[in-house]
Amino acid sequence: MTLFRTTPLGVGSDGVESFSSYIVRLASVHGLSVNEFRAILLNRYLADPGCIDERVRSKYAIPNLANLVRPTDFSYQMVDLVEMATGERVLSLLTFHALGNEFGRQRAVFRQEIAWCPLCLSDQIDSGQALHLKLAWSIKEYSVCHIHGCLVVQQCPACNGDQNSLRMRRSFGECTRCGNSLVGRGVFTPEATQLRVYVQDLIGLIAGINENPGEKLSYHAAMRCLDGVYSEIRRREKALGLSEVVPQDELHSILYGTTELTLPVLRRLAYRLDLDLYQLLSGRLEPVTRPLDESWLMILPANLRPKPKRPRICRGLLLARLEAALQRSEAPLPLSAVARLAGTTTGAVEYRFPSFARQVKDSFRIFEGKRRQRQEEMGRMLVYEFLASANQVSRKAAQRYVAANSDLSKNKIRALVSKYVPPANQTLSISQCGNRR
């Protein structure tokens, strides 16, 4: 048995269709849901005995449609099965299998939901193409369409429903939940100053993967390239310039491998060093770079900027500030107040000066305990006074009396009164009250 021949769209270009989209289209052409389609593949091509009646069970269900583009074992199996069934041999180009396990398994790289550009869908209709989802839309950092400049949408503008449904659908132009059109709707074009994002490197990466089928991109290849580039820069005595455009911690992560080299970090490095991301990941980059121009290299697009780092401070100076803050008040202060007065955070104090933090916390805890004990004692005395003097004993009246003569909180007063004042019609003597203590 062969399936109806369905050609994947845009293969060999940066606008290649995603594997998720291809699977949905293929299942729809055959009048099946996506899970049922997979069950047929398993049954007929792997002769899976557990799937012999082709009924969909949870074991054979596709967990997440959007994850089909990631290089997982499940996705590899699906690509193999569909290639067998359709005779199409380029289906791995519809995925990010080329990224391999080092980059492809990072969850932060890919979206968990189906996303689309409403204007690209509109263009597909105008050009007479079958509606499909592009591979680029499944990357998390691809937040703005590089063609239309509008935000990529993840939810139906009418019902806010996601489009991860595995049911059979007529086309990607309709919401699977409410049936409203998704084409040309929910378009939001951010102003240039509001969100300036850079996605051309991602488009280049997809184009590179499609132009070089079968090539694997790896962490080690990227490391090798960067080593070569650094050596070249050092040889040209521009190491100083490099260290300014690339933050120190990222330099260390690359040179010594102390921190994980992720795709976002590599994207930032490639942008700053003006390198091609695909060539960097494939290890085919020549160890040369253009002369570094700090004036534009320092201005990074919003999505490539690293998190701002706190300035380094002297340990002794910080301790002195903390002690000074502690001396400002006669009463012991909580650690948060001390840290705030010293211009740092509680976590930083606990991390850098654990014994000091413990000492501050202990003294404040003791002080607080004594204060609470005093308050309760005072409250109890007031309740006794009320019971001794009041003509008519009631809890409400006791609460009013204690509130008028102390600054205890309402909850504390209520707890004290319910503990020592009996309910209505159950008056007790002072001695009885004392026994209840």
Binding site: M1, T2, L3, F4, R5, T6, S28, V29, H30, G31, L32, F37, I40, N43, R44, I52, D53, E54, M168, R170
Partner: protein, 356 residues
């Protein structure tokens, strides 16, 4: 000698069965249908009708073959003309829409719904799937498959079987309307093919009448032109036939054959095959009058077929109409100056200008 007797009737039988005679009415209908289809739009209906054994199915098969060849020859890639038989598969010989859509899926060699797969487990799984699905599901599957295969024309052969739905006439109309909607959503033109009663059935749905056009393969009538063409048909059938002494061709019995075949070419072929069978059973070496007469239809059969053809002529007949008047003349007449009343002055302003 026995060998000779064995050989020519069988050769003739094979020729009649395998080769299709492209006679005049067939050629005319083919040309008309091709043109109608070329000018038709999605969701419209073209009706191909004619007497039984008139060549309607052959014509559809030929069109399907031609369209497939033009599209590359692989029906799993592109199938512009799909021809499916409307069979009465339901209980009691009734027509069932679910069975019809299952037949269509089988005709398309649908990987997930076809029941004609070679692999036994896969076929059984498809049968189970069809049983689990309702008619609407199968309709959607057909619609998606037809769209995917780029089908432009969906021909339903023996469409008069829809009449045997077994329920009220409203259901029949509803089925036809649903076929029309299905054609519109699948992006195809519907070609309904069947004997003359199909016209009567079609007229029960006003929606379809407005969207349909009719192509007929008529029988050869007893006119001069019809007779000439019918003689050509008989000459073709006479090729390779050995007749008794005194008879040279079927044309010698032309009037007799025309009377009892009612001018239907397919009926002549069927009659000749039956006569050859009787000749062979008798052990005769040549075809004679007695074989033909023994094989001819009974008067009752002929009467029934004749009444069906008469019904067709009645349904498709048009009242004679004079050539339309020249509308330009009519328009001129309408704008002509009316006769003035006494003392009425035409166009006073013009008069004034002239006076000045």
């Amino acid at each position: 000698m026995r060998h000779v007797v064995d050989s020519w009737p069988k050769a003739k039988r094979d020729q009649i069965l395998s080769k299709k005679l492209h006679h005049k009415t067939y050629r005319d209908a083919l040309s008309a249908l091709q043109t109608e289809l070329a000018y038709s739009d999605v969701g419209e209906v073209v009706v191909l009708t004619g007497p039984s054994r008139g060549g309607k199915t052959s014509l559809l098969n030929r069109l399907a073959r031609e369209y497939l060849d033009a599209s590359g020859g692989d029906p799993m890639l592109e199938n512009p003309f799909v021809n499916v038989l409307a069979l009465n598969r339901a209980e009691g010989g009734r027509f069932s829409t679910k069975a019809f859509y299952a037949d269509l899926l089988k005709r398309l060699d649908h990987p997930a719904y076809s029941t004609s797969l070679e692999q036994q487990p896969a076929r059984q799984a498809n049968v189970d799937r069809i049983n689990r699905r309702n008619t609407a599901d199968l309709m959607v599957a057909c619609e998606h498959a037809l769209r995917h295969l780029g089908t432009r024309f969906l021909a339903i052969d023996e469409a008069q079987h829809i009449e045997w739905h077994g329920k009220s006439a409203h259901v029949r109309t509803a089925i036809l309307d649903s076929f029309k909607s299905f054609a519109a959503s699948a992006g195809v033109t519907l070609v309904l093919t069947g004997a003359y009663p199909i016209i009567r059935m079609l007229r029960s749905s006003n929606h379809l009448v407005g969207r349909s056009s009719v192509v007929e393969i008529p029988p050869y009538g007893a006119t001069e032109e019809g007779a000439l063409e019918f003689l050509k048909v008989l000459e073709w059938y006479s090729q390779g036939v050995e007749f008794e002494v005194g008879v040279t061709s079927l044309t010698d019995w032309a009037e007799y054959i025309h009377t009892y075949s009612l001018g239907v070419v397919g009926a002549v072929g069927r009659w000749l095959r039956s006569a050859l069978a009787r000749m062979e059973a008798e052990g005769a070496m040549a075809l004679g009058w007695r074989h033909m007469d023994a094989a001819r239809r009974s008067d009752g059969d002929v009467k029934a077929i004749a009444s069906e053809i008469a019904l067709g002529q009645e349904l498709l007949g048009k009242s004679p109409e004079d050539e339309p008047v020249n509308w330009d003349d009519a328009k001129g007449r309408r704008e002509s100056k009316r006769e003035l009343k006494p003392f009425e002055i035409r166009n006073r302003a013009h008069k004034k200008e002239v006076a000045l």
